[in-house]
């Protein structure tokens, strides 16, 4: 099944297993969401558990906070990445800080689903990768699956978390199909994972970028370069152990991301790897990012988004040191 269907199945299972789980968002009920990720759930669980909210993002997150105070675990859907900013205060000043403000007397298990990223040729505000704003905020957890299997399990783990989790869904991966084992999962929510082993260069990315990295690795292999690929999976906290282990082996790290590179998640990882594995590096850590411009009109997105060629250009550069 595709990732969209996998998340749907994960949500269905969470709704069935815990009566305190609610879904709330714009158009998620009767319509099943603009991407149909919540399709069928309102008819199965009712309009008080799969709530078509008024069209107000701050209201969605702010009321989810109040519901959390009463023991509910609300999964909010923000319809598109670029529509999340009206909720910025409720996410960063309220949700992220309320456990600390309550000195641990209350937990805020709110999940915020954010379909994000490019590759779908959409209009402005519909293709952003804005995870860095939230990764910078203490009190939040951020994850992003790259496969349907991970999405199925990670959405359930995010709902089970006692902390707020921002669940970034690479919307271009909603449709490509992959196997989902609904009986067994082996990777914890906040673990990064090697998805292809190699000896020469480490490539690291999350969400839709993982498939680009795997494609780049295939091309590099034809040219005799043995590339390791790591799926970050968790953006906050970052699981550095597999990354550092890989870098100690390859000595070279390229981080790819759709987001603008300036003050990005990739910047943080590059700094940390340099601090912790400096003597193992044979080349500077390179970032392959979106440009530091607003996400361009659809006809330019292929130029803006890092593709396999731009990743391979960076691979060539780290190998030339």
């Amino acid at each position: 099944m595709g990732m969209g269907k996998a998340i749907n199945e994960g949500l269905r299972r969470a709704l069935a297993e815990d009566p305190k789980v609610l879904l709330m968002g714009e158009d998620i009920g009767t319509l099943g969401g603009v991407f149909r990720v919540t399709e069928g759930l309102k008819s199965e669980f009712g309009g008080d558990r799969v709530i078509d909210s008024p069209l107000a993002e701050s209201g969605i997150v702010g009321t989810a906070i109040g519901l959390a105070m009463r023991g509910y675990r609300t999964v909010c859907e923000i319809q598109f990445d670029g529509f999340i900013y009206p909720a910025f205060d409720q996410i960063t000043s309220q949700l992220a800080k309320l456990t600390n403000r309550h000195e641990g007397h209350m937990s805020f298990p709110v999940v915020i689903r954010v379909p994000y990223g490019g590759h779908i040729g959409a209009v402005e505000h519909h293709q952003e990768s804005n995870e860095a704003y939230f990764a910078h905020t203490p009190g939040l957890r951020l994850v992003s699956p790259s496969t349907p299997h991970d999405a199925y399990w990670m959405i359930q783990e995010a709902i089970a978390s006692n902390d707020p989790v921002m669940f970034f869904e690479p919307k271009s991966r909603y449709w490509p199909k992959g196997d989902v084992d609904t009986s067994h999962n082996s990777t914890p929510l906040h673990a990064s994972r090697v998805v292809r082993t190699g000896a020469d260069v480490t490539l690291l990315g999350h969400g839709a970028m993982v498939s680009v990295l795997l494609q780049a690795a295939e091309i590099a292999a034809e040219e005799g370069t043995d590339v390791e690929v790591i799926d970050l999976r968790s953006i906050s906290p970052i699981d550095y152990a597999p990354i550092l282990e890989s870098v100690r082996k390859t000595g070279r790290l390229v981080i790819a991301q759709e987001a603008p590179g300036n003050v990005s998640v990739g910047s943080e990882i590059a700094a940390t790897v340099t601090e912790r594995a400096f003597y193992f590096l044979s080349a500077p850590v390179l970032r392959v990012s979106g440009f530091d411009v607003p996400f361009p009109p659809a006809k330019l997105e292929a130029i803006f988004l890092p593709d396999a060629d731009r990743v391979l250009d960076a691979v060539d550069r780290v190998l030339s040191y």
Binding site: G62, R70, T99, H102, E103, Y240
Partner: protein, 401 residues
Amino acid sequence: MAKSTGDPMVQLLAPDGSLAPSERAEEFLPYFEQLTDDNIKRFFRDMSVIRRFDTEATNLQRQGQLALWIPSHGQEGAQVGSAHATRPQDHIFPAYREHAIAMIRGVDLFDLIRLLRGLTHGGWNPNDPRFRNFHLYTLVIGSQSLHATGYAMGIKFDGDYATGNYETDQAVIVYFGDGASSQGDVHEAMVFAASQQTPQVFFVQNNHWAISVPVSVQARVPLFRRADGYGMPGVQIDGNDVFASYAVTAKLMDDARQGRGPSMIEAETYRIGAHTSSDDPTKYRDDSELSSWIARDPITRLEAYLRDKGVEQAFFDEVAQEGADYSADIRHRIVAIENPDPASMFSHVYSDPHPLMTEQAAWLANYEASFGEQESASSNAPTPDANSVQEAAPTAEGGDA
């Protein structure tokens, strides 16, 4: 004694202390008539004690004992009346000036002192039954209104209202000010409340000033009239009339508990003091306005009523002594407060374990400890900064290879 003026304001107790219900007060009178003499004396006691406490806290701030104080002087009538109109099972979401309501719900006012001394961002546990569902102060203007509506949605989903059981049916009351009424979150809270028909009351204390900006900048119509636009009842009260505040809140909270949906109260009151201890109101408002509101003071008004009813001087002396004792207690306790443990910064950022919290708490502990070692160590001991980066790593990740 009803005035046929068309004045929308609910007032029971005139500024001179006479009981003179306005035309609009009629439907709320049954709630006032339930009050016993002891209830009314309790209103006076609470208003007086909180004002004495407020003065004490202002002084403590001036003496450097508090980082900030937020005076409530002048707003005691709106707060005490509405707080007593809530039931134990109700939930109260305050802004940050609701000291009287905190006290009435059982919060130790010393917990407010801890917050404003800079020891905590919270101060009390709303889940502790002693505090009877009084939630934390919220400093981002209006944000709490959405939390209140979300909470009220939860009451609805749980079916904990409209059962006809006065002892268990729940409702929510959320407090905010005239300035907050301009915030998008307050608007969205009312939209969601109307959409879901939540059991809740929006209580606006219109104290006429959002720091230096008069209410006329926030709204060209009385704020209670906005309720109509959301499809909920809106009632304007004389916020310095503790009876009006009690009776109207009691009625609308009853309506909410019984499933009649959300409503809004605008309490016309006045911030006699500064916005906070950092503010100088002489910069933006004139003495004549201030004096006109002092003449409508909620406490002197009720005192006149009680004296007219024959309440003896001994009662007033007793209340004054209680306020003085309360304040003396706060003064004595404040000198004994210790600063929080630095490690507490990391303790509650997350509910579940988090690697950065573990690493950074350990790093800070080592760093702090290193100063003690340095004092007795030789001059070539490594400086903490030089090692900080590698110390922050959970394991020795090869930087020292």
